[in-house]
């Protein structure tokens, strides 16, 4: 069975006919060809697939595409300015070497942006606790924590 899904993706309308069982992450990656959102575990443990849905960070591997009907989603491709200027969180990750292989990075950045909405000026312990839903195997988290601290200070 297929179902039509219409939603807003990075500010633009998108619609497609997909199988009912299609996950939102597959819709984003395979149907829309926005491959910046990654799949690291398929079980909502690693957070590499984190996107924003109506302004909230969600793990897109754990949502059906049809659950996003009518919603507005933002992926990693949609957060820099139109002229290519990086989002302050992207810039902070770059400045602080908060990424190595880059695979967890889109999910980390999307989670971190959401984190600062809830905690505009988090201390280290808060950042670490809030990163609980995102796994990184390269950085040891040290520079990710630093990047998020820097981003929170930049937006002060």
């Amino acid at each position: 069975m297929t179902v039509k899904v219409s939603l807003t993706v990075n500010g633009k309308p998108a619609a497609a006919e997909v199988e009912e069982r299609t996950l939102l992450v597959s819709f984003i990656r395979e149907t829309l060809r926005l491959t910046g959102t990654h799949v690291g575990c398929d079980t909502a443990q690693c957070g590499a697939c984190t996107i924003h849905m109506d302004g909230q960070a969600v793990k897109s591997c754990n949502i059906l595409a049809m659950q996003a009907e009518g919603k507005s989603i933002t992926t990693i491709e949609g957060i820099a300015s139109a002229d290519g200027t990086l989002h302050p969180m992207q810039e902070a990750f770059r400045q602080n070497h908060g990424l190595q292989c880059g695979f967890c990075t889109p999910g980390m950045v999307m989670s971190a942006i959401d984190m600062l909405r809830h905690y505009p000026h988090p201390d280290e312990a808060t950042i670490r606790a809030e990163l609980d839903g995102n796994l990184c195997r390269c950085t040891g988290y040290h520079n990710i924590v630093k990047a998020i601290q820097a981003a929170s200070q930049a937006s002060a």
Partner: protein, 788 residues
């Protein structure tokens, strides 16, 4: 003159694409007429395949092809090769049972591949795979290496009696026995170095295609060494013409060793892409990664250290049983031998060492190199033994280390390696200062006042990077030399593309290698591009593992740069009408010595490509050079890690209060990248010590830690921030004076943490991973014993 780049924390040029979702990982690629594969895997640890029925699966919607072990056998495809032949102490070669790419009649671990189902969509391939009916006769399984070697254990391979791959030894057994006979003190410990599952966040992925038009194959694969992948696959498994096979390892989301190897899935898809004449994509789901990626560690070791009355080491005796899993993975045999036992001298002048290793086959996923590969296991033995001996003899743990440090170089260890240089005292001193060891006693009593237990532990590690030289590796059983290749292509406008056989999957070579090249040529980094990971572009490569990229791959580039400069001098001499021997090259200028006459690098480049009047008998047009570099020795990074923990006896929770790492990596190209490598290594090592353990159920042989819910990956809130510093002694045998930094963190941190934890708990030993539940139980039973 361009800014100097070496030693500067230049921001990474890779980051922009990764931060904006523009990375290009294997699974991101969808080819025209793409099909998708799903592997049918054994649910049993050990079983005979009675029959496979495919009728229902073949009839399922969207199925393009299904292949089993019988098809592979009919196509006369060989098994996967092992790259390192270990000769046992009986003088016989190791037992090397076949490693089929799809099981023919027997499955030997849960997750062993039985069939591949190829369909139009991934969902259809999954649906059809569920329709494959395999009738298994379940056999008894054995998952523990010691148990596998015991009489009567279930036998995995006819060709490996007693499940033994080899028993191998190194060192002077008689000398060690004699030294123990006159020892004033002997420290004895028995360890398990826990099995780890690498878990790069990008799962393994393959996209294989075949073109009838020119009879060629293209394999995109998440891999650390595409040329080796191609060589092994073409020459040993599929018998394909190598020039008709292109292997591309595009952006790769972490490897840590697990993506070095030639895996069955890579070969199956490459072969099958011709059978179905369509591109086939497979990306492991996380459960498949747990079941089928090569695991790491899994040693059982008994060790004894003999000391004189002053704490001088007299001898070290080590006996290790290593679990190799069900089949020999690409480098598996070398890890618990060549990469392990040769590191048992550590930073110390222990005069005699003997180590015997027995490697066993078990019904578990193959075990191979994982970040550190043998060296973490060796360092764990040495540093736990040294710390324990110090405590037993009432000697300060730093003092006993100082008493035994190697102080003059080069130093020949009793276990084959020749250390070129180091300064162990300096890294220890600096670490002690940064960790404020002087204030520890006060902090400990403050913890005590709060009902907490505090402990401090050291680890002084050494590692050997950039496996080398080829002649030595060959003598030790390596079936390939371990050099690296590099090519420097200077374009007519003076821009430079560098092709390296090293592969970057997080290490930032596109930045650090460009720093080296720009510095050497005196040009802007913006004028340098680094290309890697594609056999159609790069001339050859042994790839990235063992912290070898800069020391070996970087040096190959330096050699090619030297040739570029040498040719540039010839061109400059011709242009400036001077003798070639009078031309000097510095800061991007070719200059006639003692004059102000010079030509910039870009002018020479242009001349090379638009020569009007070259003396063609002496000078060819063009400026493109390549080089192969075979190192003369390993490099030997070393350092001191100090860990301070606080344990809550009410919950068993461990808090890492301080962690200081002082490393000697020789000269450093990009300190920002180096620090990042250390942080990542530290967390993998601390993960081993506190969180991670790959567990197979001994009765059923099932992997009970097969998801991120069961296998405890370190998360941000499990880990501290780190204090890291470096103190470099330049490597003596490569032109950059560099050593390698990728694995140090994972090597030195487990013993540092476990030394701190055993200090806090007041116990002689504690097994990794030190989970709160096990710590709590230990403290409870200790208290009960006290009360009784």
């Amino acid at each position: 003159m361009a800014t100097p780049y070496i030693g500067v924390p230049v921001q990474r040029r890779e980051d922009l694409r990764f931060l904006t979702g523009a990375g290009n990982y294997t699974d991101d690629l969808t080819l025209p007429h793409q099909t998708h594969a799903v592997f049918v895997r054994s649910p049993h640890a050990h079983a005979r395949i009675r029959s496979i029925k495919l009728e229902r699966a073949r009839a399922a919607a969207g199925v393009v092809g299904i292949f089993t072990g019988a098809d592979v056998a009919a196509a006369k495809i060989n098994g996967l090769p092992c790259g390192w032949l270990i000769t046992g102490n009986d003088g016989k070669p190791m037992n090397e049972p076949a490693h089929p790419i799809l099981a023919l009649d027997t499955v030997r671990h849960a997750g062993d591949g039985v069939a591949v189902v190829i369909a139009e969509t991934l969902a259809q391939a999954r649906d059809a795979a569920e329709q494959v009916e395999v009738d298994y006769e379940v056999l008894p399984a054995v998952v523990d290496a010691v148990a596998a070697l015991a009489p009567g254990a279930p036998l995995l391979h006819e060709g490996a009696p007693g499940n033994r791959c080899y028993t191998w030894d190194i060192g002077d057994k008689a000398g060690v026995d004699a030294a123990f006979a006159r020892a004033a003190h002997v420290t004895t410990l028995e360890f398990v170095n826990n099995r780890l599952i690498p878990n790069a966040i990008e799962p393994r992925a393959v996209n294989a295609s075949y073109s009838r038009a020119d009879d060629s194959y293209t394999l995109y694969v998440a891999n650390q060494n595409p040329h080796v992948e191609r060589l092994l696959m073409c020459a040993f498994v599929l018998g394909l013409p190598e020039h008709k096979v292109r292997v591309v390892a595009p952006d790769v989301g972490g490897g840590f060793g697990s993506k070095i190897y030639l895996y069955a899935e890579d070969v199956v898809l490459t072969w099958a892409s011709r059978q179905v004449n369509r591109p086939i994509k497979w990306t492991a789901d996380r459960s498949e990664s747990f079941l089928s990626d090569a695991h790491g560690r899994d040693h059982h070791t008994k060790a004894q250290l003999a000391l004189d009355k002053d704490g001088q080491f007299l001898a070290l005796r080590v006996n290790t049983t290593a679990n190799l899993g069900a089949y020999l993975s690409t480098f598996a045999s070398a890890v618990p031998t060549i990469l392990y036992a040769t590191l048992l001298a550590g930073q110390y002048a222990t005069p005699v060492i003997h180590c015997e290793v027995t490697a066993a086959f078990t019904n578990t996923a193959p075990v191979d190199a994982y970040r550190g590969a043998g060296r973490p296991e060796a360092t764990y033995v040495v540093e736990r033994m040294v710390e324990t001996a110090a405590r037993e003899m009432g000697i300060d743990p730093a003092a006993i280390r100082r008493r035994n440090f190697i102080r003059s170089f080069p130093y020949q260890t009793p276990v084959a390696l020749m250390y070129d240089i180091g300064d162990y005292e300096a890294t220890l001193d600096r670490a002690i200062e940064l960790a404020d060891v002087a204030g520890f006693a006060t902090r400990r009593s403050q913890s005590q006042a709060r009902g907490k237990l505090r402990g401090l532990g050291y680890a002084c590690y050494i590692e050997a990077c950039g496996i080398a030289p080829s002649s030595v590796a060959g003598a030790l059983g390596a079936r390939a030399g371990l050099f690296e290749a590099g090519e420097v292509r200077v374009h007519p406008t003076g821009k430079v593309t560098v092709f390296t056989g090293s592969h970057s999957h997080g290490q930032g070579h596109e930045t650090s290698f460009a720093q080296v090249v720009a510095d050497r040529l005196g040009i802007s980094m913006d004028d340098v591009e680094i290309v890697h990971g594609d056999t159609s572009k790069v001339l050859f490569g042994m790839g990235t593992y063992g912290s070898r990229s800069l020391a070996v791959g970087g040096t190959a580039i330096i050699k090619a740069l030297d040739k570029v400069v040498a040719k540039g001098k010839k061109i400059a001499a011709h242009l400036l009408e001077a003798a070639e021997t009078d031309i000097e090259f510095a800061d991007g200028q070719f200059k006639v010595a003692g004059t102000d006459r010079s030509k910039a690098f870009a002018e020479i480049a242009l001349t090379a490509y638009v020569p009007h009047n070259f003396p063609h008998d002496k000078l060819e047009p063009g400026l493109n050079e390549n080089a192969f570099y075979d190192p003369s020795n390993f490099t030997f990074p070393a350092g001191t890690y100090i860990c301070e923990v606080e344990v809550d006896p009410e919950t068993g929770a461990v808090n890492i209060e301080r962690f200081v790492a002082v490393d000697d990596f020789g000269n450093i190209i990009n300190p920002m990248i180096v620090e990042g490598q250390v942080h990542g290594g530290l967390v993998q090592g601390l993960g081993q010590a506190l969180n991670e353990c790959g567990v197979y159920d001994s009765a059923s042989g099932q992997l009970t830690t097969g998801t991120f819910m069961d296998y405890c990956m370190p998360r941000a809130d499990d880990m501290p921030s780190f204090k890291v510093a470096t103190h470099g002694t330049a490597c003596t045998h490569n032109p950059l004076g560099v050593k390698g930094c990728g694995e140090a963190g994972a090597i030195g941190s487990p013993p540092a943490l476990m030394n701190a934890l055993t200090d806090a708990l007041g116990v002689a030993d504690f097994a990794m991973p030190a989970t709160p539940q096990r710590i709590w139980a230990t403290l409870q039973s200790k208290q009960q014993r006290k009360a009784a």
